[in-house]
Symmetry: C2
Subunit: 300 residues, 2 copies
Amino acid sequence: MNPQPESAKHARLLDGKALAQRIRDELAAQLAGPLAKHGRAPCLAVVRVGDDPASEVYVRNKHKACTEVGIESRRVELPASAAADALKAVVDALNADPVVDGILVQLPLPDHIAAAAVRSWVDPTKDVDALHPENAGLLAAGEPRFIPCTPAGCLELLRANGIETSGRRAVVIGRSLIVGRPMSILLSLPGIDATVTVCHSRTTDLAAVCGGADIIIAAAGKPELLRAAHVRPGAAVVDVGIHRVADASRKSGWRLVGDVHPEVAEVAGYLSPVPGGVGPMTIAMLLRNAVESFQRRIEG
Amino acid sequence: MNPQPESAKHARLLDGKALAQRIRDELAAQLAGPLAKHGRAPCLAVVRVGDDPASEVYVRNKHKACTEVGIESRRVELPASAAADALKAVVDALNADPVVDGILVQLPLPDHIAAAAVRSWVDPTKDVDALHPENAGLLAAGEPRFIPCTPAGCLELLRANGIETSGRRAVVIGRSLIVGRPMSILLSLPGIDATVTVCHSRTTDLAAVCGGADIIIAAAGKPELLRAAHVRPGAAVVDVGIHRVADASRKSGWRLVGDVHPEVAEVAGYLSPVPGGVGPMTIAMLLRNAVESFQRRIEG
């Protein structure tokens, strides 16, 4: 293990690893207790096309996490050459399978399969990633069926650490379908009530916009984009990014960095680490969505 | 006609009435020309439940606008006592009718009918109001099937007046399903690229947030909420509100006001009037959505 970097001495840690473990323990207890009487465990199906090595790691981690809490994890693997129709047939079969509670199609997909089409194939009531347009629309309407896992995880990190959102200024950097967009909507829903600004690659004055924020969610997908000069002293910063960058001082030749530069820890009041921040929370929220779907399905 | 208020002497007028007429003329020309060869006109069905007098005016205006441009307008009227099932049967029949291109259920609905349910009854491919969750989600994903009429109208007003959005700071006041939320998403989509902040009733520092904006969309539903002190000199202000307020100096006893106080005209660079700003644009965009739906349907 590497020592805590010196720059981390100011900001309080938004410890996603510990919080995710607590949530997983709670889910495991529910599944071993009140939810054990239904004759079957929740079942999450993960479909993967091709052999992208990063997505292999993600799928393996999800599988392990499922197993630990008592969710049955089903993996379907298709070759990179699989036709879109073959993937659709797999998804259709999982949609029709009464003991499958959650379905996710691991990204990225090969270039010949349009992710936009695949999103609408998954039965919205089993869409634990919440990427189906209907689920995105229900979130925008303030009536979410499922909340996308990474935004849900970021919000839980704030809540568990007592960080108020109502009436606070929040900035979300990034407008991706999976993180930035739903995160910005979620934070401004009634009951959460942050005043939210969405920044993106065309934003001209990132420092000025971020400088007014009580909460910053960095989800730009750019290594160490957010610098200390962007951050108001005491702000809560959640780092969604995770990137491998070359590092000759490491035996592996690389290290993981986020969208937030380490110097931000000297200014921010709270900061989520990479790794050990948002990543484990994303998986915990996926498990929670799968258990919720199971509950809805068995309890009618 | 009332004289232009003196306070309107600075801001340039975002003239929705004139722009809407231009768009309607274009649609009429299309329908009389290239789109005339299909043996039928586009058909928009408007369903109304009960006899709310304001919605009677809206429905009549929509009907008149349709007729003028060559869209067949079908009205279905249900009594205020109609059961939700009766409304659903009407919507189902319109969904199934091959010559109906657009369906809208006029709001407000009686209390015993849940608007959230009704939104998902309309066939998303005929949902010219773009309120179906699937259409809301497609917008959030940057792949809109239809753009909600009022946000689309506000954007057209900005564009037609040469107001740049890319990289500019925009503030949307209001987070409603019909205006604020889709407006904020639309303005921050790739290709439009504003840096957008959503304000709402829990926003604590409206003046500070608005003061940084190049573009303000006032859609809070509060008469004359936006004051001159909120607005940066030269900003473009679009007023979505429309309210009747008592006015003893008028023969009618009332006048129409927006969400923007008239004094804003002394500070803003551009301002849309009420009436004659966003209202006519909303109807023009509804007509455009109906014609687009018609084109998609007849051209397969």
